[in-house]
């Protein structure tokens, strides 16, 4: 009987000890920053976002801790895989709260539902990939911020760039949230130019062959195609068009620069030549130095991001850490807000400070929000780049893009 009591007491002590552990050790408290992204569905995007966030906290705390007020804290990145599912994304946000997350760095999926859950606890959500028009609304969703070009900005820049060319454009989008939001933005951007748009077609994400849809686009009389879709769908659309001998220019949102597009087309590198994508500019007005500094730090921390293809001369192609930049910037804004609030546990204060602080972003641009604007990237700060020989360079026929330098994408010897 005595032995049984001892055993029971030991078990209770163990349970108590384990319950008390986890988030704090000694005087240092761990703050979790959750990265909620489709790691399994589009690993490149998920990993890049997580790496950007990790780079920011590693810089902030080095190998030690970050003093805030009279205490010291240690940030930790925790990954949550959405698999591209809104329900999983919402579930992840709940799990993240359970794990004590102070902020969510989010790809954007499921934010329509997760923002209100996070708002109850004054937890900020930073969207760093999706640009859906109504994802961010400072009045309705005061805890949602975004540092990435909006779909609205990209779509209007595409219209501004393409309409003067007098092209007949087929607009294709996939049935993912990314594609549907893009289609909405394009519809608004091209609303006054009905004669320029020959057709609008939805591409099924799960289809293995998009030949029927591309044939319909071709029959519509189009001589250019905009594909607003996830990277694998863009690759399939290109394959369907090129294999049918339809050699028209393709325009895409930032997903066109995803390594998977080039990986899918590795057997036909010539098919990707001429693919033009719109994206947020990587280098700032003040010059390329801040971006290259960031790129250097990123590569030092995580190594080179190899695309998995080579140029015609056999050089290994590497990917610039573009999406990492936005996650990096959001974490820096968050850290500045926490510092300004003086107490990370006072979440309402931290949230309020998110609208007050300003930080210098990875590319040298200033990143800040205010009570009326939770967008961290200027809407028209979008450039165009075109692929040639598996690497891309800013286009020459756009005033903004033509001023930008080409970021090297060849693995150094």
């Amino acid at each position: 009987m005595r032995r049984l009591s001892l055993l029971a007491m030991s078990c209770c002590c163990l349970v108590f000890a384990s319950a008390c552990g986890g988030s704090s050790s000694g005087s240092t408290k761990t703050l979790v920053i959750a990265v909620n992204a489709p790691f399994s569905k589009t690993p490149y995007i998920g990993t890049t976002i997580a790496n950007g966030a990790k780079l920011a906290i590693d810089e902030l705390q080095g190998s030690g801790t970050l003093p805030i007020g009279d205490k010291s804290y240690r940030f930790r990145i925790r990954r949550y895989d959405t698999g591209g599912s809104p329900a999983a994304a919402v579930r992840n946000v709940r799990r993240a709260f359970s794990d004590g997350a102070v902020a969510i760095v989010d790809e954007g999926t499921g934010v329509d539902a997760s923002w209100s859950i996070a708002a109850d606890d004054d937890v900020p959500i930073g969207i760093v990939y999706q640009g859906g028009i109504d994802l961010v609304d400072p009045q309705e969703r005061p805890n949602v911020f975004r540092i990435v070009p909006t779909d609205h900005g990209i779509a209007y820049r595409l219209a501004e760039y393409l309409l003067p060319k007098r092209l007949k454009i087929a607009i294709l989008h996939d049935d993912s949230g990314y594609g549907e939001e893009g289609a909405k933005a394009l519809a608004a951007a091209f609303s006054g130019a009905d004669d320029a748009v020959t057709t609008r077609i939805t591409l099924p994400s799960g289809a293995t062959d998009l030949a029927p849809q591309l044939l319909a686009a071709r029959r519509s009389g189009a001589n250019a195609v905009i594909v607003w879709a996830q990277a694998p769908v863009i690759a399939k659309a290109l394959i369907a068009a090129r294999s049918a001998g339809w050699d028209v220019p393709f325009y895409t949102p930032p997903a066109g620069a995803d390594p998977i597009v080039r990986q899918e087309l590795a057997d036909h590198p010539e098919w990707i030549d001429g693919l033009t994508f719109a994206s947020g500019r990587m280098t700032a007005e003040e010059g390329t130095a801040p971006y290259y500094t960031f790129e250097g730090k990123y590569r030092q921390a995580f190594g080179l991001e190899r695309v998995g293809v080579k140029t015609r001369t056999g050089n290994v192609v590497i990917q610039p850490p573009e999406h990492a930049m936005y996650a990096y910037d959001f974490v820096n804004v968050l850290a500045a807000a926490i510092q300004a609030a003086g107490d990370p546990t006072d979440r309402a204060k931290v949230l309020a400070q998110m609208e007050e602080v300003t930080v210098r972003g990875a590319n040298g641009d200033e990143r800040a929000f205010n009570e009326k604007n939770h967008e961290g990237v200027v809407d028209d700060d979008v450039y165009f780049a075109r692929f040639h020989d598996m690497t891309f360079a800013p286009v020459e026929d756009d005033p903004l893009s033509s001023t930008l330098p080409t970021v090297s994408q060849i693995e150094p010897d």
Partner: protein, 602 residues
């Protein structure tokens, strides 16, 4: 008023006594587990409570599916679709119409029930394979519709739902209570009259039908219940999740639930819970291993579920709970002596067939068959194989429609056109082949036949075990034991029918037919395969039944039995009547000797 109170108190007392008598340690264990689970949110975190509640809603849907799969034996592969109907109805009402959680839930469950009723009317008559295919197509159709109509489903972004008054703890407690209730109702129905009838239908549909089991109505009821419970689970689960995500309601959800139900044991109340727990545990282990290797295992989930399903089918389809039951010592069922019922009298009726005709294509199976059987007599129909005897019995029992002719019972035309209605009119039949319900005991086999007599044996009364239902069950049980006594099988009342000898199985069939309180009994080769002793026992039984006033039409090849018991013999050959009269007279007919008897003697 006092009388009502006294009756109610008495009924409660009787119910308590009965429950105490039936109480066993698994019930104690289940009750203890339920009570402990009720208090779980006190020690669980919010997210754990939330995830457990989500799992319980899925378990609720699995139990709902077990009503169709386990009780009715219908392989429904669209439970996920019913969850989707409930979920998106509730989500639309909550997000677009601003409905409160309760109204949205009721509407979701109601729409799923209505969808289940519509589909059920179309599908329940299908065979199992076609039923599975049809419901699988429904699962796909709903998933494709959700994708095709983003304005209804929210498209790839889903339909967000603002948090309502239900916290995760309320959801958890509600889900737990609903799961317990659903399991109890399943248990009560499975043990009650509808469960017996459905078990009979599941095991041997033709044999159940000839006992008057209303197959379509019962199957439809089970399918609609599964749809309603699925819709309820979906409507609540989506509000707990906070978002209706069309991708979460694909055909895999239906498949996963189906696999869980079969894995756990479809015909048991706790089977779906056990199956779902096993599948969820496997998914978790896979995710854990995947996380170690930095690989997402989500895409392997259907493969794991399919492998488990194949495993269960490979080991005979029993499932976890039935397998575990083997380790629980079975309590010997004692058949207590019931108060001696009054001697049973079968009020026979004059059964007459006049000018019955039936052709199959160009083949005339019956040509102008006429016969009359009076109460307290046995008329035998004999003839070579293919002469039309069984066709005649099938027409008499309502399983086959004649091309012409007239059937009357005590002079009144028999216009009932379904087997159930024919049995209700007083015409019961046994099948040619041995067709007992293997899973049921001899007593339960007989009780299946007594189902038509029930006035208080519906699903709701059975689930609530009302005093009238229990009193009726007790009465019918006594009568069934009396019938088993009559056929000499009282000692085998609690023996599973599968363990009876073939001659006892035939007697069990006969007892089940007698339990329908027939006025006319149609027997199709009851002595087939029996020993001389079995035939003698059967002859004594038929003699006794005749003595009780029953009208019997006997199709039999055993001429010794025919000559021993029949007053009249009608001989068929090629669908035509070649002789009709007392056995001795018929035996002398040269045409009969040529066509059938040969060297045999009647």
């Amino acid at each position: 008023m006092n009388a009502v109170a006294a009756r109610t108190t008495g009924a409660f007392g009787a119910a308590l006594t009965e429950a105490r008598r039936a109480w066993r340690w698994p019930a104690t264990l289940a009750t203890a587990a339920f009570v402990v689970a009720l208090f779980a949110p006190l020690v669980l975190s919010r997210i754990q409570t939330q995830e457990l509640a989500a799992w319980l809603y899925l378990a609720l849907a699995a139990i709902g599916l077990a009503f169709a799969v386990g009780l009715a034996g219908m392989p429904s592969l669209c439970e996920g679709a019913f969850m989707a109907v409930g979920a998106f109805t509730a989500a639309q009402l909550r997000s677009k119409a601003g409905a409160d959680p309760v109204s949205a839930t009721i509407a979701g469950a109601a729409l799923a029930t209505a969808a289940g009723a519509l589909l059920g009317i179309a599908f329940v008559r299908l065979g199992r394979v076609l039923f599975a295919v049809a419901t699988w197509l429904v699962a796909w159709l709903v998933a494709l519709s959700l994708a095709a109509f983003p304005e209804l489903s929210g498209g790839a972004r889903g339909l967000p739902i603002r948090a309502g008054a239900f916290t995760e703890t309320i959801h958890y407690e509600l889900a737990l209570v609903l799961v317990a209730l659903a399991a109890l109702v399943f248990f009560a129905i499975a043990r009650g009259a509808p469960g017996l009838a459905l078990a009979a239908l599941r095991v041997r549909p033709p044999a159940a039908r000839v006992l008057g089991v209303p197959a379509t109505r019962l199957r439809l009821g089970a399918f609609v219940a599964s749809a309603g419970i699925g819709g309820l689970a979906g409507a609540l689960a989506v509000q707990l999740a906070g978002i209706a995500d069309p991708a979460g309601y694909g055909p895999f959800l239906s498949f996963k639930l189906f696999a869980a139900v079969l894995l756990g044991g479809a015909a048991t109340a706790l089977g779906p819970l056990a199956g779902l727990a096993a599948i969820s545990a496997l998914f978790h282990i896979a995710h854990w291993i995947g996380n170690l290797e930095n690989v997402s295992t989500t895409r392997f989930e259907p493969m794991i579920a399919a492998a488990l399903l194949l495993f269960v089918l490979g080991i005979g389809g029993g499932g976890i709970v039935p397998w575990l039951r083997r380790f629980v010592p079975a309590r010997t069922a004692t058949i207590e002596a019931s108060p001696a019922p009054p001697p049973r009298r079968f009020a026979g009726a004059t059964f007459a067939a006049a000018g019955i005709r039936k052709s199959f294509g160009g083949l005339a199976a019956l040509v102008d068959l006429s016969l009359t059987a009076e109460p307290g007599t046995i008329v035998a129909l004999i003839g070579p194989n293919g002469s039309g005897k069984t066709t005649a019995l099938r027409i008499f029992s309502g399983t086959l429609v004649s091309d012409g002719g007239r059937l009357t019972l005590d002079g009144a035309p028999l216009i009932a056109d379904t087997t159930t209605e024919r049995v209700r009119s007083g015409v019961a039949r046994t099948l040619q082949r041995t067709a007992v319900f293997d899973e049921l005991t001899a007593l339960e086999n007989v009780l299946v036949g007594a189902g038509l007599e029930r006035g208080y044996g519906g699903a709701i009364r059975s689930a609530l075990a009302t005093p009238k239902e229990r009193a009726e069950t007790e009465r019918l049980r006594g009568e069934a034991l009396d019938i088993l006594d009559l056929v000499g099988l009282r000692a085998a009342a609690s023996t599973p029918a599968a363990h009876l000898s073939s001659s006892d199985q035939r007697l069990t069939m006969l007892a089940a037919a007698l339990a329908t309180r027939p006025r006319v009994l149609l027997l199709d080769e009851p002595a087939a395969g029996g020993s001389a002793e079995d035939v003698a026992r059967l002859a004594r039984l038929l003699d006794a039944l005749r003595g009780d006033g029953l009208t019997i039409v006997l199709v039999e090849h055993n001429l010794r039995l025919v000559s021993a018991v029949a007053e009249r013999v009608v001989v068929l050959d090629g669908g035509r009547t070649i002789a009709d009269g007392p056995p001795a007279e018929v035996a002398r007919e040269p045409t009969v000797r040529d066509a059938y008897l040969g060297t045999h003697r009647l």
